[in-house]
């Protein structure tokens, strides 16, 4: 059986995929995970997940076929507006 191992390097950090290992059952997988990802004090937490329990999304890209760019934060560019605001402020200043 293949197991995926996730490890947390320090408290508060997210668990990240560390790698995978092959083991005859969960108990062996736990022991091997400790051996490969824990014994040098490099992880504060480990998750061991049977690969078959992981649901893989085949095609994660959802095409934006409709014009809904107002939903995207990158639609609101502040750069131009800021420049215009500064120019107006400069122009309004006495002696400007």
């Amino acid at each position: 059986m293949i197991f995926e191992v996730f490890r947390q390097e320090r408290d508060g950090q997210p668990l990240q995929h560390g790698g995978s290992l092959e083991a005859p059952n969960r108990e062996f997988a736990e022991a091997y995970a400790i051996e490969f990802y824990g014994r040098r004090n490099e992880s504060v937490a480990l998750w061991v997940v049977p690969r078959e329990a992981v649901v893989e999304i085949e095609d994660p890209y959802v095409a934006d076929v409709f014009d809904r760019d107002y939903r995207r934060v990158d639609g609101y560019s502040l750069k131009v507006k800021l420049r215009e605001a500064r120019e107006r402020a400069d122009a309004a200043r006495p002696g400007g």
């Binding site: 092959e22 083991a23 005859p24 062996f28 022991a31 051996e35 014994r39």
Partner: protein
Amino acid sequence: MSAQTLLDLADDELVLGWRDSEWTGIAPYLEEDVAFSSIAQGEIGHARALYELAARELGTDADALAFDRDPDEYRCHPLVELRLVHDWAATIARHWLYETADALRIARLKAAPDPEVAGLAGRIEREEAYHRMHAQMWADRLRASAERPRFEAAADELWPYALGLLDDELRGPLCEDLGREPVEPVDRGGHTEELQPLWEEMTMVRRSVPGATW
């Protein structure tokens, strides 16, 4: 704590670590190869720490104790000398018997009056706990498999050795922990024929250029 007691333990750990390391590259599968090699290295690391404590008392150094003695000066028990490579069931049987017995003497060492010895025993125990977990899960697995007869036959054969690994005081508790009847033990002091070839190989580099600093 006498240097002799430390040497008994250190020699056991060194020679068992050496024997276990013979599985490096040929274990039943890769994950186990890495795990078992690491356990072998752990045992040799324990030996090194124990030799250092003994060396201070004996006025020598750890390397000299590990590699410069004659084979008959080693205090290791015959259990760890046996060459079991290629027989995984027997290797696991020894691993399981040894770790179970070792737990008892390490626990006693943790209560030693010498704080350095007790502290080292505590550090060793933290790693041995993992070794025991590994040994127990393998013993359980083999017992539940078609290899059960091979495992049980090896464990029966090695049991007098495992019993002799410990002194009188700890033999009763070992019988209890393993659920086995006491037998005539193979005592420490003698050596098997298998120690000599192991020693030749283990000390080969050291003897090739005596006194060299590598």
